[in-house]
């Protein structure tokens, strides 16, 4: 299948990209790894594509005292290769390495991934799990939203049609922080059927147990400390928090949550 006719504009900077998105028929494109197939299947048929991968702001890494800002057009491969400073104690490269296949990682971007908001996407799960927030630029200027508010559902976000994601802000994590991410895929490179992340950061008093790949935005399970400290049963927590899943998917989700918790326990990097 070939895409329906469209025009392509290569934006030189973020402001220019936003200006070109003013028409109703325009859409940003980054790595095209999600949008490309939709164009070819003619499920998406924008009249104008605005390529954001040449915008300097979207390719930059900004290191601040508390956070690191990652430009939206950085690729999965750049994270995988350790080419970027890591706000965490080495957690990002293993996440990136297990996204899709290398060919997809060479082009696919972190900003494209969260803007696409596939519920099973790795960055959607892990950036939510790591407490990231999203920097957005629109005609009215810049704003910032926590991931949990940015992703509003399956394939849906708080992004306006003329806004772009410019960066993802990730809080720094110290050596005492612990993390695990466990996902179940039918085969290497496939989207997850169930995933779970666990964060325990005593220094920032931040604890999170997140269920993801559940066909909607990730859900944070209540009382994460009890789960992390083994005082609550992950199966029961999943049963209670995810009533909308089929029994089979819920069972799988319980496995994912238990295994993510177990991996955190033993300190095995997931």
């Amino acid at each position: 299948m070939k895409a329906a006719r469209f025009d392509l504009h290569l934006a030189a900077d973020a402001a220019e990209a936003v200006r070109h998105l003013q028409g109703d028929d325009a859409k940003p494109v980054a790595g095209s790894q999600s949008l490309g197939p939709m164009l070819n299947l003619r499920l998406a048929r924008p009249g104008l594509l605005v390529d954001v991968t040449r915008c300097a702001e979207l390719r930059a890494v900004t290191e601040e005292a508390e956070d690191v800002l990652y430009g939206a057009a950085l690729t999965h491969a750049e994270f995988e290769d350790g080419a970027l400073p890591d706000a965490t104690p080495g957690w990002l490269a293993p996440i990136a390495r297990r996204i899709a296949y290398r060919a997809v990682r060479n082009r696919g971007t972190i900003g494209g991934s969260i803007a696409h908001a596939d519920p099973a996407a790795d960055w959607v799960a892990t950036m939510t799990g790591l407490g990231a927030s999203v920097r957005i630029l629109g005609p009215e200027g810049a704003r910032e939203l926590p991931m949990a508010e940015f992703v509003t559902g399956a394939l849906s976000t708080a992004l306006g049609p003329d806004e772009i994601v410019t960066a993802i802000r990730l809080p720094r994590r110290g050596p005492e922080a612990r993390w695990s991410y466990w996902k179940f895929c039918r085969k290497v490179g496939e989207f997850a059927k169930a995933s779970a992340c666990v964060l325990a950061d005593p220094a920032r008093d931040e604890y999170r147990v997140l269920a993801a790949a559940i066909e909607r935005a990730p859900v944070a399970l209540p009382d994460p400390r009890a789960l992390i400290e083994g005082r609550a049963d992950p199966r029961e927590a999943v049963e209670a928090a995810l009533p909308f899943l089929s029994p089979e998917r819920r069972a799988l989700q319980a496995t994912a949550t238990s295994r993510a918790l177990a991996a955190l326990e033993t300190g095995v990097p997931a």
Binding site: K2, L41, R42, F184, R186, K187, G189, F191, E248, L252
Partner: protein, 779 residues
């Protein structure tokens, strides 16, 4: 000079690799011609409908073609001569009735594919939607809508076989009945289909370049459908990126492209995309079995009874027909075993799905799954290790050649030895001990075996029995020595991964002593090669190999005569080898022989054989009932009860392909097939909803095994020569794809047994494993 052996048995490196690895292959998609137009098909969005009309876009009447334009073009018809066969006609473009989703309805022609797709999108269909037959088990229901006018039920053919069943089953100590199902699959060669057609005005020929396994058969079909003489059609297979049966049929698209080229007098091209392949074209494998096994308490298999249904889809595909699978089920279900009673009834049912096509291992993969899972059940039923139960019932080496219960003639081999070698490599007692201990990570270990034999290179008597449009006869090859002593081989089969450019050159080397690097294989072109039914049925190394040897033997005689005059020696005293003819007192090179015949005929004596250095010879095996290669596959799996995931920890194959012309090539064939079998076992499935809509229409849903899912598979070879082929070689092209669903299925069930659970369907998805576990828990 120490020249390594390059003949039969040598692991010669593939001669075709350079061009493929360096990206210099020429596939249909690489072909561009001046003025060429691209074709996109408008395909049906629904499974079953009356077609009231097609509205071409404004001003595009000369670019959009429908059935109404195809005056004089006949639909594709592949009837079987088996009694009771109901005939279907597959229209080139749907005329008044649509019978499956993505059936072609209009051909749209434009300078680019994208523009052609724009036209397809703008073309309107006026449809009268009908209820669809989406499930083969419901196709014979009295209230099922009928697909074809004049049929009483949606059945292409009912067939069966019975021998000694009542007597043999009467006193069985144990009787176990199971139902098994193999899902519909889509064959997925790396390259999809592709067709380029144009008119060669000088030759007055329609030239159809198509990614096919059988150019001569395609020409037969094109001539029939287009109503033109065969001499006015030339079919060329360029480089073909994998076939597996997917390219062993006549395509409606081939007929359409041929018609368009004749109509427009411009080159036209259609390159199939993945969506067309998955959602409309590449259907195979969907079987259902209701099988009962009977055994004695001391472990003798007494009888097998089975009813089987094959979902043949909407049409009978040319040339293999809609009933080859089901009819074969009845004849090959007994597998490599002895039994006294057998009864099998099969139905090839019609449904609103694309026609079922022969896929590597045709019918055998499903048969092996059903029979081998049943063997495990019977073994467990009488409390015997499944391997031991098999050993007691396999045809033994001393019984060869063996005529089995369905009158198949197993040519040679030792099936028990294959089993024993596999078991020795596996260390079953150690695995059983480990299984009893349990895994530290909570997964469950299972061990599974499958053993089967594969009829290959079967010929005239077998296929004339099926009565399908294609019956192989003598296979021919032309061998032509070039003036510089090189060799051109012309064969009607087509090489697309089988490595025939290498292995046939090795056979020529064996007979003529010509360096394989100096052998050029000409194949895949009706204008340049002898007629052949083409590449299918694991037949090439036996049939084309035998034909090449026969033609080369003839050429050797003639070369020796010429050498005899040059060396002043008796031709019978001359030996060919290492690129030369050696006599008692001297030698001449093949180049000198070629040079004398072509360049210096004045040096040839009076009365020289005028036939020269080019020979076409025909070949058949000693008996045309086929070679029977066989194999034992073993799988060790770990099943995760938390996810339903199956990991293959160990997979091994003991294989007997007779004399191996090139062991390296055989390993490649077996590995490739085995990975496809793993796809059948664990991943590949094309489900349909109740409206007949295909649900795995992209590679995001249709999962294929990739590099990460392919274990490394040690292959142990036995080499029992076949008594019926030229060098003792057997066909093994399909073998690898047959065993995995059964071996893995048995291994998974071995692991699930602790939970009182079992799977009965492939692919063994995590969902199916979890569902089986839940059923086991409830029971």
């Amino acid at each position: 000079m120490n020249i390594p052996r390059q003949g039969v048995g040598a692991p010669v490196r593939r001669l075709e690799d350079d061009r493929y690895l360096e990206g210099r292959g020429r596939f249909a998609g690489d072909i561009r011609m001046p003025g060429m137009l691209e074709v996109a098909f408008l395909r049906s969005p629904v499974a079953h409908a009356g077609l009231r009309g097609v509205a071409k876009p404004e001003g595009a009447a000369h670019q959009v073609f429908t059935a109404a334009d195809l005056e004089g073009v006949r639909g594709i018809r592949a009837d079987s001569g088996l009694p009771g066969f109901r005939s279907s006609v597959q229209p080139v473009l749907a005329a008044d009735r649509i019978r499956h989703v993505n059936e072609p309805v209009a051909a749209c022609v434009a300078p680019s594919r994208a523009e052609a797709e724009d036209l397809a999108e703008a073309t309107g269909l006026d449809l009268d939607i009908l209820p669809a037959v989406h499930d083969m088990l419901k196709a014979r229901d009295p209230d099922a809508p009928l697909l074809h006018d004049g049929w009483e039920e949606n059945v292409f053919l009912e067939s069966g076989f019975e021998q000694g069943f009542e007597a043999a089953s009467a006193d069985a100590a144990i009787r176990i009945r199971r139902q098994y199902r193999t899902s519909r699959q889509c064959m997925s060669p790396m390259e999809g289909r592709g067709v380029v057609a144009y008119v060669d005005e000088q030759a007055d020929q329609l030239v159809v370049i198509t990614s096919t396994q059988m150019p001569h058969i395609v020409r037969n079909g094109l001539a029939e459908c287009l109503g033109i003489d065969q001499g006015r059609i030339r079919v060329i297979a360029p480089d073909v990126g994998g076939g597996f049966g997917y390219k062993g049929i006549l395509l409606a698209e081939e007929v359409m492209l041929g018609w368009l080229a004749l109509k427009l007098r411009r080159p036209v091209r259609w390159i199939e995309d993945r969506r067309e392949q998955l959602a409309g074209n590449a259907n195979c494998r969907e079987h259902w079995y209701d099988i009962t096994g009977y055994a004695s308490a001391d472990g003798r298999l007494l009888a097998v009874e089975c009813e089987a249904i094959v979902d043949s889809g909407a049409y009978s595909a040319y040339p293999f027909s809609a009933c080859l699978e089901a009819a074969q089920v009845a004849s090959i279900l007994p597998g490599p075993y002895k039994m006294d009673g057998f009864r099998c009834r099969t139905w090839s049912v019609a449904t609103n799905k694309p026609a079922i096509l022969p896929y590597r291992g045709v019918a055998r993969t499903g048969v092996c799954f059903a029979m081998e899972l049943m063997m495990d059940e019977l073994a467990r039923g009488i409390g015997m290790e499944p391997a031991e139960f098999r050993r007691r019932n396999l045809v033994t080496g001393s019984e060869m050649p063996f005529v089995n219960i369905t009158n198949k003639i197993f040519d040679s081999g030792d099936y028990v030895e294959a089993l024993d070698r596999s078991l020795a490599a596996l260390d079953l007692p150690a695995l059983r001990a480990r299984q009893a201990r349990g895994e530290p990570d909570g997964r469950h270990l299972g061990v599974g075996i499958s053993i089967f034999c594969e009829q290959g290179a079967h010929g005239t008597s077998v296929y004339s029995g099926w009565g399908i449009p294609m019956v192989p006869g003598f296979e021919q090859a032309t061998a032509r020595m070039t003036p510089d002593g090189g060799l051109e081989l012309r064969v009607g089969v087509q090489s697309h991964g089988q490595s025939l450019e290498t292995t046939l050159a090795q056979i020529a080397n064996e007979v003529l002593g010509v360096d394989p690097a100096k052998v050029k294989l000409v194949h895949g072109d009706t204008a340049l090669t002898p007629y052949s039914t083409g590449t299918w049925g694991s037949r090439c190394i036996v049939m084309a190999g035998g034909a090449v040897a026969t033609a080369c033997e003839e050429l050797a005689e003639r070369a020796k005569k010429i050498a005899g005059t040059l060396l002043q020696a008796d031709p019978d005293a001359i030996v060919l080898g290492n690129g030369e003819a050696r006599g008692p007192s001297g030698s001449v090179t093949l180049a000198e022989i070629g040079s004398v015949w072509y360049h210096r005929p004045q040096d040839l004596p009076e009365g020289v054989d005028p036939a020269g250095l080019e020979a076409t010879k025909g070949y058949k095996t000693v008996r045309d009932t086929g070679t029977f290669s066989y194999a034992c596959h073993t799988a060790v799996v770990l099943v995760d009860p938390g996810t339903g995931a199956v990991e293959i920890e160990d997979y091994r194959i003991t294989e007997d392909g007779g004399v191996l012309v090139n062991p390296m090539v055989v390993d490649g064939q077996v590995w490739g097939g085995a990975v496809q079998g793993i796809g059948t076992a664990l991943y590949e499935e094309m489900p349909y909803d109740s409206e007949g809509q295909p649900l795995s229409t992209t590679l995001a849903e249709y999962l294929l095994p990739g590099a990460a899912e392919a274990p490394s598979i040690p292959i142990a070879h036995m080499e029992t020569p076949s008594p019926i082929s030229r060098f003792g070689q057997k066909g093994i092209g399909e073998s690898g794809a047959i065993g995995p669903p059964a071996a893995i299925g048995n291994a998974v069930n071995d692991a699930l047994r602790a939970f009182g659970a079992a799977i009965d369907q492939v692919p063994i998805t995590p969902e199916r494993v979890m569902a089986a576990l839940a059923r086991g828990e409830r029971a």
